[in-house]
C-alpha cells in the first residue's frame, strides 16, 4: 500500500488502507466439523477473543451503517442534480459540502472504533500466536503436521466442510467472526481437527495482517480528517471519496462481488480400494 501524496488522493489513501485493514479480517471462514481435539489450539481464552472481536466489528458496522446510507443519499442527489463538473453552482456546492461533512463523520466513527478493534485483534493474534507456536511449532514434526491435516478418520465428511482458505465471501465482518466462533466453539461435535488447524492458521494470519494495517490506518485517518476539513472550504467531492465509501460498504456489509475461493474442497470420497503394505 503506497501512501497518496496528492491532495485529492489522500482520502482514497486513507480509506483504501481501511479497506485493506478490514479486508483480511473477512477471510473466508469455515464450517468444519471436528472430533475432540488432541492439540489445544482454541482454549476458552482464544474463543473469547474471537467472540469479542466479532462484537467490536459489529459495533463498528452499526456506527457506520447509517452514515453510509446518508452518504448514498447525498451522492444520489449530487448525481441527479447534475452537479458533477458544475463548478460555481451554489446548490451543488452546498450538496458537496454536506457530502464532505458526512464523509468526515465516517472518518470520525472509524477513528473512535479503531482502538477497540486494534485491542481485540491484537489480543486474538497474540493468543493464537502462542498456541500455534507451542502446539504446531514445537510439539509437531512436519510429518505430524501433515497427518494432523489429513486426519485419521472421516476424511470424506471433513472435506465436505473444509474451509476455503483466505478468500472473501462477501459476508459482514461481524458475521465472519460469528462463523469463526461457532466453528471453533463446537468442539466435541463432529469437527475434524485438521480443519481447525487450518482455521487457526487462517485467523492468525488475518489478525497479524490486520493489526499492522490498523496502526497505519490510524495514522492516515488523522491526516485525512485534517485535509477534508480544509477541503470543506472548497466544497469539492472527489471521485476518490466516492470510491472509498463504496469500498467500506463492500467490506463491512458484504455488498461485494467476492473472488472465487482459492481452494475448493476435493470430491467427497477418498476411500481407496487398495492399500499398499509400503504405504506410510
Amino acid at each position: 500500500m503506497t501512501k497518496q501524496t496528492s491532495f485529492r488522493g489522500r482520502p482514497r489513501g486513507l480509506l483504501v488502507l481501511g479497506l485493506v485493514l478490514l479486508g483480511p479480517v473477512t477471510a473466508t471462514a469455515a464450517t468444519a466439523s471436528a472430533s475432540g481435539p488432541t492439540i489445544r489450539l482454541f482454549p476458552t481464552t482464544v474463543l473469547e477473543d474471537i467472540r469479542h472481536t466479532g462484537a467490536v466489528a459489529e459495533e463498528m458496522e452499526s456506527g457506520l451503517q447509517s452514515i453510509i446510507s446518508k452518504l448514498d443519499q447525498q451522492q444520489q442527489l449530487f448525481v441527479e442534480a447534475k452537479c458533477d463538473g458544475a463548478e460555481g453552482d451554489p446548490g451543488c456546492e452546498q450538496i458537496a459540502k454536506q457530502l464532505g461533512a458526512t464523509y468526515l463523520d465516517m472518518l470520525t466513527v472509524m477513528n473512535d472504533k479503531l482502538p477497540d478493534m486494534e485491542r481485540a485483534v491484537t489480543s486474538t493474534r497474540n493468543s493464537l500466536e502462542k498456541r500455534l507456536r507451542t502446539e504446531v511449532g514445537k510439539k509437531m514434526t512436519p510429518w505430524d503436521l501433515q497427518e494432523n491435516l489429513l486426519g485419521n478418520t472421516a476424511q470424506a465428511a471433513a472435506q465436505a466442510n473444509r474451509p476455503a482458505m483466505r478468500g472473501r465471501s462477501g459476508l459482514r465482518l461481524s458475521e465472519r467472526f460469528r462463523q469463526y466462533y461457532s466453528l471453533v466453539a463446537s468442539g466435541g461435535g463432529s469437527t475434524a481437527e485438521q480443519s481447525l488447524t487450518v482455521v487457526a492458521a487462517d485467523i492468525y494470519l488475518d489478525m497479524d495482517e490486520a493489526s499492522m494495517l490498523i496502526a497505519r490506518t490510524q495514522e492516515e485517518i488523522s491526516r485525512a480528517t485534517l485535509l477534508e476539513q480544509l477541503n470543506q472550504s472548497f466544497g469539492v467531492i472527489t471521485p476518490e471519496m466516492q470510491e472509498v465509501v463504496q469500498g467500506v460498504k463492500s467490506i463491512l456489509f458484504g455488498d461485494f462481488e467476492g473472488d472465487a475461493p482459492i481452494s475448493g474442497p476435493p470430491p467427497n470420497d477418498v476411500q481407496q480400494a487398495y492399500s499398499s503394505p509400503l504405504e506410510m
Partner: protein, 178 residues
Amino acid sequence: MKTIKLTVLPIVLLVLAGAGCATTPEPACSLPEGHNLRVAIETSKAQLTNGCEALFDAYFDRLMSVAEGDPKPRNKQTFSEFLEWTTDTGLLSRRQAQAYYNRYFNVKFMSLAGDYNNCSYTCPRQAELLTRMEEELSDKEQGLLRVSQDRDSYYRADQLLKETELVLAATCTACSAN
C-alpha cells in the same frame, strides 16, 4: 635370459586381462518397450537382476510411462508388488521402496519427513520444503492421476499442499515472533 623375462611378462598380463574381461561380459541393459505393463515389469525384473540395477531409476520411469498408456486403479497395486519384489531381492531397501511408492502413489508427502519440530527444523527451510512438495505433487500427478486414475487422492494431495503452506506460514510467523 633377463630380456626374455621382460618380454614375456607383458604378454602374460595381457592374456590374463583378456581372460578376465571374457568372464564378466557387459550386461545388456535395454529399457522395456511396448505397452503391456506386466510384460514390461517382467522384462525389467529380468534385467535388474542381471546387472542392470544401477539403472533402476530409468527402469522405474519407463514402467511409469508404460502404465500411463493404460491407466487404471489396479496399477497402484502392480507397482506396489513390483517395489516389494525389489526389497525381496535386495535391490532396494525397504525404506527406498517406501520412498518410491509413497512419492508417486500416496497422498502424504515424503518431502515432509523429518524428526525435529517445525520451529527448529521446518521453518528455516520453509521455501525449500515447499518447492520439494511442488515437485513431489508433480510425481503424484503422474502416479495417482495419470497411472492410477485416483483423482480423489490427487486432489487431496493438492489440497494438503495448500493447507501445509498456509499452516506453515502462520506457524513460522508465530515461531519467529517468540
